[in-house]
Symmetry: C2
Subunit: 243 residues, 2 copies
Amino acid sequence: MNIAFIGFGKVAYTLSRLIKSPDINFLTSTEKRSNDTIDLINKSNIEVYDSFREALENAEIIISAVTPSKAVKVADMYGPYCNGIYLDLNNISPDTSEKISNVVDNFVDGAIIGKIDSKNPTLFLSGENAHKLLFLNDFLNVNIISDNMGDASKLKLLRSTYTKSLSVLLIETYDLAKKLDLEDEFFDTLSITDGDDFKDKSLSRINNTLKSSKRKAEELEEILNYFNSDELDMVNAALNKLK
Amino acid sequence: MNIAFIGFGKVAYTLSRLIKSPDINFLTSTEKRSNDTIDLINKSNIEVYDSFREALENAEIIISAVTPSKAVKVADMYGPYCNGIYLDLNNISPDTSEKISNVVDNFVDGAIIGKIDSKNPTLFLSGENAHKLLFLNDFLNVNIISDNMGDASKLKLLRSTYTKSLSVLLIETYDLAKKLDLEDEFFDTLSITDGDDFKDKSLSRINNTLKSSKRKAEELEEILNYFNSDELDMVNAALNKLK
């Protein structure tokens, strides 16, 4: 089976190393790619074509792994060459997922949960053809959410609504605890009900959020744009606080 | 050792059953108590005196377990009869704890974490004499927070700041998930990172909060009154949402 990548960054690179099988070949093209990308492709020992058209026409599965802002453009350009399944892994919104489904056939909405290069890489997939990708379960965690195109990206957004707001709540209460000189005690008391790893997990959430607060704020803005923001008091407060 | 209760409701009743030792006697009085309380006292087989003065003067430890609003009044009235340690378990604010410490000697600030009749009853204690109550560890979980009077109630308030706001965040995201018809999937995806019991724990938090939303809102108001409310975006949002 041939799987072609559009885009070859961390996601494609990691997948090409995770999915190791004598029955699976990876294809891509260096057409109009940056030197960095070409270097990464050469490091990966995958089949390289001069044009994307050629690579994609030879593939049963196409994986689009570019950036959220280029997802629709790429689907427009290359969708017509798709003979099999078109899987988008660009962390797109449910609206974008709908746009893409209008321009490519056999579209599967995909969402990477957490980081692709984590210990436990997890994909959410949805759409009528999602079940055809179940074989990927041999190599990473694949959850078929439903037949409804868009459910994978909706669920990722939901998860993100919770985890990002939670991180801001942790920042707020941790600040309070520090002022009272009770930060260790704060973590200890919550460990009783929330598990021994509460402290480590919480500090990692706090640090990740503070380290990239601008990006997290943009992601919260996307959430508020997609959902009915009037009802989301907690998410609005989290955005305010991050700003 | 004699331990006297002021107030005999669920807390005193449960403690008198948890703390079983041939060396420990419990005392109380039926003076001006309601019929319900007298029934509970009679059910408990503890030593009953006609007056609180008598009961308290015979005790090495006095436990005040009335209600938050009566904690100071009771300390004023009965504090003078205290010959030993005066432990308050009334879920009082750090301010109230300070008031009581001004009217009784050997005051220990206590806070019950969760419910006293839970599987894992836990007490936070603070104050210079708190360590003298460490023997209670044979019967329930006792955490000595510090020598600083008030730290136990501060820590309880901090914990409550986090858990009550978290419950509201769960309500908000669960509502969103229900609208998208993805509530089971929402819990499943969070279980990956937050533990297998995430769903049960979250639903129990959601239900407890919705069941007593008025009381939870009052508790959030107390938190905002005690801390500098301007900086607490998430707690303010939680209060708004509950209202």
